[in-house]
Amino acid sequence: MTVRRAWWKTGLGLVFTALMLFPVYWMLNVSFTKTSDLRLSPPHLFPIDPTLEGYTAVLGQQLPNLGTSLLIGLGCVALTVVIAAPAAYAVALLNLRGGRTLNFVLLVAQMIPAVVMAMGFYAIYARAGLLNSVPGLILADSTVAVPFAVLLFTAFMGGLPRELLQAARIDGAGAWRTFVSVVLPLSRNSVLTVALFAFLWAWSDFIFASTLARNSALKPITLGIYSYIGNNTTQWNAIMATAAVASIPAAILLVVAQRYVAAGVTAGAVKD
């Protein structure tokens, strides 16, 4: 009885999931559709007679953009970890004065709309010559990840066993040595979580890319898709193929690191 009931729930769960993921399925379906079949009414529900036209277009036109996005994502990860981890160490384990204030500032920082930040950056970059540059985008994109990273690291490091830190001190390790040889290795999971989010946010960024790199020779993939939409509205199979390729990091993340993703979302919005 209980078993039958449970499988009945699985069936319902499959229906819900299918409904929820339909847009993703549709993206893939359209990406395999021939250009001549795009305007069919009703459209093919399954990729009967699939074509790789769309994907050929992606490889031909979007490959450099994918590379740019990869570069920006990795740069953003490095910058975020380098800035956030030591600061969190100071707040969580070194009794930094004003640590609470810093936490509060970071919480507030996360609430500032990206549009406003984009305008500020635009004004600064226009003078500094950083518009349309990869470093400029890495810096701007990192503002999304850094406050989150500091808060996550602080929470994690605050819970590390004190005995280990004391042991390190008794062995004569200074603050820097303790950080590098004890704290960082123990915080591996949180570093991974931060890295995943920082990469995904930078990879997905549209607002900063569309404002700070509008005329860039090196475009991130989000802008590649955006200019596709604007320019050739007939080639939706190519647009959807690009979108599918741009979703690969999200897919990898989900398969490899689902538990970290869920942990990152929940981290803290809830307390027991």
Partner: protein, 323 residues
């Protein structure tokens, strides 16, 4: 895009143990180490915040109280105009509709995201075969780049070739000009935004549900309470603090949404999907001629609104922490 805010001790779902944060000791033993060492470790972050948060914010205030034309922008000799930009923005015929659109977009999105998220969280609460995998798949919309979701929804809602209208036609209903008709454009972007927000609500509410003691349900079912009754007498009331936090956080994030609306409608047709954030974005970057001063004024008004609700959120969270 919504992203999580972190607090001490993250309570996470059963399969997410790895990043669960142990309880920090409230009172730390004073340990050695000079305050200067701590300051040195925090210095890069402090400098970073000053240069990459404070400076852009100061610049955006500066933009809003000067009259920056494109020429003045390059030469740096914009005239000081005080609050003129703010007055012009508030008295502009776009302001009231933009405010109404923002309210509508945020309120309707939140209600549905929350209701659907809660329903799914309760559904996934009872473990059944594949429940973990399916719950994981629900994260997908949240992970996809917004440009991907936005363009997919645009094509699905295309008037002539979209799958949604094909289904409507097959059922004998009249097709709808989702994105091109002023009557339905707002509904269309709200539908897409609800879809985007469900994962966030599901994950947070689900982990909130994990903290409701199972024996409460056992006692209730011994007393003969059905699942409907259990939901309204146990789940919903005990989940209230988590619900408040989810909704307030969602509100702060939804207020600043630009990407999804811009990609789908660019605020049109006839401004029917122009929210404050979209208005600001369009003034600054949506046309060939960046008009940064009014855009910054709109943006700063948006900051004030976001911060008001942000502080309500922080207070709600502190209260929950102390309880």
């Amino acid at each position: 895009m919504s992203f999580p805010v972190l607090r001490e001790r993250a309570e996470v779902a059963d399969d997410t143990v790895s990043v669960t944060v142990p309880h920090p000791r409230r009172r730390r033993a004073r340990r050695g180490g000079s305050p200067w060492v701590a300051a040195a470790f925090a210095a890069p972050l402090v400098i970073y915040l000053l240069v990459f948060y404070l400076w852009p914010l100061v610049r955006s205030i500066d933009l809003s109280i000067h009259d920056y034309t494109v020429r003045a922008f390059v030469q740096g000799d914009a005239a000081f105009v005080g609050l003129d930009n703010y007055i012009a923005v508030i008295t502009s015929p776009t302001f009231l509709p933009a405010l109404t659109n923002t309210t509508l977009f945020v309120a309707v999105s939140l209600v549905f995201q929350y209701a659907i998220g809660l329903g799914l969280a309760v559904f996934f609460r009872s473990h059944f075969p594949l429940s973990g995998v399916l719950r994981g798949l629900f994260l997908v919309p949240w992970l996809l780049p917004l440009i991907v979701s936005g363009s997919t929804w645009s094509w699905m809602m295309n008037s002539d070739n979209g799958i949604i209208n094909s289904v409507l036609r097959a059922m004998g209903a009249a097709p709808i000009n989702w994105l091109t008709s002023p009557d339905t454009a707002m509904t269309a972007v709200i539908i897409a935004n609800i879809w985007l927000g469900i994962p966030f609500n599901l994950v947070i509410l689900y982990s909130g549900l994990q903290n409701i003691p199972a024996d409460l349900y056992e006692a209730a079912s011994l007393d003969g309470a059905g699942s409907w009754r259990q939901f309204w007498s146990i789940t919903f009331p005990l989940l209230r603090p988590v619900s408040a936090i989810t909704l307030l956080l969602g509100l702060v994030y939804t207020l600043k949404v630009v990407d999804i609306i811009w990609i789908m409608t660019r605020g049109g047709p006839a401004d029917t999907t122009t929210t404050l954030a979209i208005w600001s974005y369009r003034e600054a970057f949506g046309t060939g001629q960046p008009d940064l001063s009014p855009a910054a004024a709109v943006g700063n008004i948006l900051i004030v609104i976001a911060l008001v609700f942000g502080f309500v959120y922080l207070r709600a969270q502190r209260r929950q922490e102390n309880s």
